[in-house]
Symmetry: C2
């Protein structure tokens, strides 16, 4: 079932990845709730809590990411009242100083992005991304 | 700030890990929302969606986990209306057929557990666990 509400959440999720791809820290900041309780887990890392610290983590990542592009697959939106969850597979292409000209590094991650309705828009409360190491399901 | 509501959510989160530790599939099933939109990401794996499929994933994991114990650290509860998020570091001890008698395997993961208030209790909507590969923060 894809309602206009689901579509608005999916569009907001796409804006999150567009902000990262374009290295636009202001756009990234504007997507997050301004709250001490926000949460960001970058792949393989410990949690970053609170929008101030999260902004600093993005600034650092953007400064060290000359090129990144996301192809999202398996995007699923789920709503519980004023909270919306988006899960997706992030198929990522990156290039940095260690990459040969004209080639890219590829990687795959799974993300859960949880948004909260604030007025007319949705803002990000939780971003949890994790590396996919196998197509099998692992135990905790 | 730890209100009675925060404490109820944290207790519910502890019940989730107790169900896993004791291999109690009925208790595990009872903690989840009965919904096609639930989401479970086991460390390093692709998402499992829907409570039926999630139950089957737990049955398989429990059958292959003779011993598991969790020590939770950095447990933080955050509330947004009728939705509550718990993030924690899972410090895990396991033993299986490949482990020497009297010894354990240790591992660390980060989990985001999102609960929804249903009547008098909280039920699990999203469990996303990811391996910690470094104490540094990684890019997506």
């Amino acid at each position: 079932m894809s309602t206009p509400e689901h579509q608005a959440v999916e569009a907001r999720n796409a804006e999150f990845y567009a902000a990262f791809e374009s290295g636009d820290l202001d756009a990234m900041t504007a997507i997050w709730l301004d709250d001490a309780q926000t949460l960001c887990v970058h792949p393989g890392a410990l949690p970053v809590r609170g929008t101030g610290a999260i902004n600093r983590s993005w600034a650092l990542i953007m400064a060290n990411t000359p090129y990144i592009q996301f192809f999202l697959t398996d995007v699923e939106v789920s709503l519980q009242g004023d909270v919306a969850s988006v899960t997706c597979t992030e198929n990522v292409l990156t290039a940095d100083e260690s990459t040969d000209d004209g080639s890219f590094n590829g990687a795959k991650a799974v993300a859960t992005n949880v948004f909260v309705r604030t007025g007319d828009t949705w803002r990000l409360w939780i971003h949890h991304a994790s590396p996919v190491m196998s197509d099998e399901h692992h135990e905790d």
